[in-house]
Symmetry: C2
Subunit: 211 residues, 2 copies
């Protein structure tokens, strides 16, 4: 009997290193699954449908919401983003943990969903705003207006840090990754998350009987 998979919410302002950290976690533990969001926004250069996002029309998106097929969804800068429910539930049933790269709105909805018992949430903070801005500018594909919008969204995103179970400040990528691994290991050591424990204790009791 596999344990139920965890839902690991990772939120941060863009540029705090969340994508890099998610990739590193998945390289460390290849059972981890990354939740692919659906979105109505246009693909950026290099983005692949089904890997980076499911690119859907507004009509398709709203139909999924209507049918209860979205675990969470929100509108950001005029585009809809959401998490399709079915793949998450399938992973949980297989005992695989899923990482969600969602903003505070998505985080709140997942935490308040029927799956809340298996949710852990982690907020990643940048070491400074200067770092955040230079990482955003380093991507060099956004206009000044987009940068300004993103910085404003970053500030609002950061204001929600205290709603999260854990906070990791990304001063150093290695250290931040180690902190994330530690959090995952500890959450998996919880009494109600170790699938073999019931049987193990039953075996100990058999040993007591046999003395």
């Amino acid at each position: 009997m596999a344990r139920r998979g965890l839902l690991i919410i990772l939120s941060s302002p863009s540029g705090a290193g969340k994508s890099t950290l998610s990739k590193r976690l998945m390289a460390w533990d290849n059972t981890l699954r990354f939740s692919v969001s659906a979105t109505t926004r246009a693909p950026r250069p290099g983005e692949v449908n089904g890997r980076d996002y499911y690119f859907v029309s507004r009509e398709e998106f709203l139909a999924m919401v209507e049918a209860g097929q979205m675990l969470e969804h929100a509108e950001v800068f005029g585009n809809l983003y959401g998490t399709p429910r079915a793949p998450v539930e399938a992973a949980m049933a297989e005992g695989r943990d899923t990482i969600f790269d969602v903003d505070w709105q998505g985080g709140q909805q997942i935490r308040r969903s029927a799956l809340s018992k298996d949710v852990i949430s982690i907020f990643i903070l940048p070491p400074s705003i200067a770092t955040l801005e230079s990482r955003l500018r380093g991507r060099a594909q956004d206009s000044e207006t987009v940068i300004a919008d993103r910085m404003a969204k970053s500030r609002s995103e950061i204001s929600h840090w205290a709603e999260y179970d854990y906070v990791v400040v990304n001063h150093d990528l290695e250290d931040a990754e180690e902190e994330l691994r530690v959090i995952l290991k500890a959450e998996r050591a919880r009494a109600d998350r170790q699938p073999g424990l019931n049987d193990f204790v039953r075996e100990l009791n058999r040993e007591f009987e046999a003395r």
Copy 2:
């Protein structure tokens, strides 16, 4: 501003390696404090008053309970055991974590106390009952009746494993110690337990203002 210290409940049947693991944790982090219990039982050979236990009379013990000076207390095999409250609260205020070597009754009382927000509880299981018994016999200072009593108490103690936040099976001392360290590190990474975070986020906001 220091964070409040954690109350770390470690329970296990005797012989599961809890004392060794506590000592190793304290060698790893010398800010950790071990809660010294008060007891009415007679000192065993080698036990030192104030280090292993506070050895007190039944009258003294009951007077402390009466005065609300015990965080928890219980009677085991006709002897009273309890945790004096004052040193625990002093350590918490200094931001030092305290390890409690208590049984399930003590664990329940601490978890239900006014300090519950800062309690984490860990149950240590032996790899087998044979190991448990051989460790008990290895101490070689107890009679067969005492061994039988302890084995019965061990069984009843183990029956409470599911009340704990975390469970560690002590198959291997190094691994078990590492698991305990991971649990402590993760609990200290919780958003409400990092004392500098409020100031840190205030600084980030100042940076946003200054852009």
